[in-house]
């Protein structure tokens, strides 16, 4: 019995930015985990071949045996390569190869892997490398939706604008003349105090320049660095503003309405300061 035709294919979401260091991998890990927490079977693919990071953020670096390139080259099967997350049900990681470069990825190879994953997963998160070259284009080519990670500063906004142009012109959807890739803006490392003093662009400045719907605003937070170093996606830290903001973003991605929060300058009271809140 062939049920494949009736089955809904996985939604492929690329997390991209153009600029490096804005929080793509942190966001991929957080959002992938958030979607899995909601009960959807999710896989996060690290497309940053040669600069593997996702495994560190997810805290599974010691369990990497095979990688994405091995699967493309048919040196290993997907089930051998996928790493099951120990904390979160329904979550899997497909690590990048550290010893190869972006040329190891081919359109046909990536397509084959994505098609196979599609049969089994509900969501496929593609963690894009920085830049606009082959690696980044490979990560976004098959995407249905894109989360454009942007910092509130001009160079990051400019690069996001550039990647939005590439999403609309060099993706499979664009080439096939299908409905364009769904675009979501995720503003990270947002510091309300520095926005107020004019050192950073505000949410409305960035929205005005990029003109795409806002998925969420993640406040600058020490919890993010701490979570990265511990290998725990920050979304699991329900005490932190960044974790809560990521959860809001995941809710919005699933079509729920959530008001924006953490956009105001926090005035710390004496007791809060004492308790280190």
């Amino acid at each position: 019995m062939n049920l494949l035709g009736d089955m809904e294919l996985a939604k492929i979401i690329v997390v991209t930015s153009g600029k490096g260091g804005v929080g793509k991998t942190t966001s991929s890990a957080a959002i992938g985990t958030g979607i899995a927490l909601k009960g959807h079977k999710t896989v996060i693919i690290d497309f940053d071949v040669g600069l593997r990071n996702l495994d560190l953020i997810m805290g599974c670096e010691r369990r990497v045996v095979y990688d994405f390139v091995n699967v493309i080259n048919k040196e290993a099967t997907l089930s051998q390569t996928l790493i099951k997350d120990k904390r979160t049900k329904n979550l899997f990681i497909l690590p990048a190869s550290q010893t190869r470069d972006k040329d190891a990825l081919t359109i046909e190879g990536v397509q084959e892997v994505l098609e196979e994953l599609s049969k089994e997963f509900d969501y496929i998160i593609c963690d894009s490398p920085a830049g606009i070259e082959k690696g980044a284009q490979m990560a976004l080519y098959f995407a249905d939706a894109a989360i454009v990670v942007t910092n509130p500063e001009v160079s990051s906004v400019r690069d996001s604008d550039r990647i939005l142009g590439i999403l609309q012109s060099k993706s499979k959807r664009a080439e096939d003349g299908k409905a364009p890739i769904e675009e979501h803006l995720l503003l990270t490392r947002y510091h309300p105090g520095r926005v107020a003093s004019g050192e950073m662009l505000s949410v409305s400045d960035v929205e005005d320049i990029l003109a795409i719907p806002l998925l969420g605003v993640i406040p600058e937070s020490e919890a993010v660095l701490k979570a990265s170093n511990q290998g725990t996606p920050v979304i699991l830290d329900t005490e932190s503003e960044a974790g809560l903001a990521y959860m809001d973003a995941v809710d919005r991605l699933m079509g729920e309405e959530r008001p924006l929060r953490f956009l105001e300058i926090q005035k710390k009271g004496f007791i809060k300061r004492l308790l280190g809140g």
Partner: protein, 241 residues
Amino acid sequence: MTDSGFRLKGSVVTTVLLEIQTFSLDGIVFHLKEKIDQVPHFFNQAPIIVDISKMKRGVTVGEFEALIQSVSALGLGVIGWRCDPDNLPVWSASVTIPLLPASKTRPINIAPTVKEESSPDVVVKTVVEERLVPQSTKVITKPIRSGQQVYAEGDLIVLAQVSAGAEVLADGNIHVYGALRGRALAGVKGDVEARIFCKSMEAELVSIAGNFMLSDALQNIVWKDSAQVLLVDDSLEIVPL
């Protein structure tokens, strides 16, 4: 990146060639002035090359310099001169304006259809071609992002923003019903009548038929407001809408 602070590039400029056939200074000045008065706009500060290669007799340095002076006095910019390379005058090295290599074009002999009553001393040749420009209009509904370039053979209408780092070009007019933050070049094939219209002027550069203005200058005229850009007497005017 270079440390030299400049770049050497090749460039082709359309110029007017003043081909002297018989040297009579007064006659040349008189007829040339007549031509200029017909289309003063065209000749104003136009680059011109003085060509004496078709002259039967030699020209003295005095005569030549007087000619250059008179031509300059008429408002033309002499950028060089030409003469028959086999018949180079002895004074050729002493002239300050550059001697240009002889034209490689073959002489085209076209039988004159209508004989003019008096053969003019001066022939003004212009290297401007007339051609049919298709007037199709291109409509873009999505934002034009940084790094993208859109060109329209006729008019260009953008129903969204043009981001910083994007470039829109048109042979005709450009309309942007959103913020214009990138570069907009209208009349790129030389149409001086072309204009740029935008809902919010925040451009990096606007240009009409090669006359351009950068954002620094624009900010002092109209900024973040609706505006049109047009060419008036070879200078750009930015007018609020």
